[in-house]
């Protein structure tokens, strides 16, 4: 047998050997070839190891409503996400806003007071002073 690694369909041949899907004649020819070809032998051993691992994993049982449960959990996650954005985030934003408004200290007072207003206030103070401690 000519070395499969030297032509284009080598991968198909080696994978088929591992999966035991080659026709018996091709499989026998490939087995004879790997006795003398280190590279093909290594590739075939690797494929066999992969298939052995896949065979072992077949013991994992999937329950009949596996798909339904997966899709249900996806939908739940989406609903949780929507609730987070529609309720929790606005609530958190409101609390943060309320906290900012409540905690906000009046800025250092530097009012733009008109001197005319100060004069009028002093006029009123002088006037009210006449009442003494009457009121």
């Amino acid at each position: 047998m000519k070395c499969p690694l030297e032509f284009d369909r080598s991968a198909e041949l080696i994978v088929g050997y591992g999966a035991r899907t080659l026709d018996p004649a091709t499989a026998a020819a490939f087995e004879r070839h790997i006795v003398s070809c280190d590279e093909c032998r290594a590739a075939a051993a690797l494929q066999k190891a992969v298939w052995a691992a896949l065979d072992e994993s077949q013991d994992l049982r999937v329950c009949p409503d596996f798909d339904r449960r997966v899709f249900e959990r996806i939908a739940q996650a989406e609903r949780r996400g929507r609730w987070l954005w529609q309720v929790l985030v606005p609530a958190a934003a409101s609390i943060a806003l309320a906290a900012v408004l409540l905690l906000r200290q009046p800025p250092p007072a530097q009012p733009a007071v008109q001197m005319e207003q100060v004069e009028h206030a002093l006029d009123d103070m002088d006037l009210l002073k006449q009442l003494g401690a009457a009121i």
């Binding site: 609530a91 309320a98 409540l102 009012p111 206030a121 002093l122 401690a133």
Partner: protein
Amino acid sequence: MSGRTLLVIAAMLVSTLSAFARRPPKTPIDDFERMSPEQRQRALNRLPPAQRTKLEERLQRFRQLPPEQQGALRNLYNRLHELPPNQQESVRKAINRFSDQAPKRQQAMRDELRSMGALPAPDREARMASREFRQNFSRREQGIVRDMLPLLPSR
């Protein structure tokens, strides 16, 4: 929202409101005093020199008043400015008429206003209508007292 969060928010709200309630009454004089020295100087410098000097002297006189008198004047000022403009004007005119009276009569009106200040509004009206009041004060004095009534604190 948990009960604990609500409690925290309520406590913050109460403390803020009480801080507002504790805030002393504010007047344009207080606004001026709260400005930085540079801002005050700039504002004063915009006035003609004579007006500036006069204003500085008046401010200095106000600053020299005892704190309790300043507080009382601030309260009166704020009560006056809570009134509608026409009523403010009639109070001002009444105070001017008051200051034209003889010192003894001024004192009698002060005493009357002080005792009326302790009464609820309907009782003040009753006192004004009483024979004693009308006997103690001339018509002019009665008018002065009546016009100054809005300055009294509400009971």
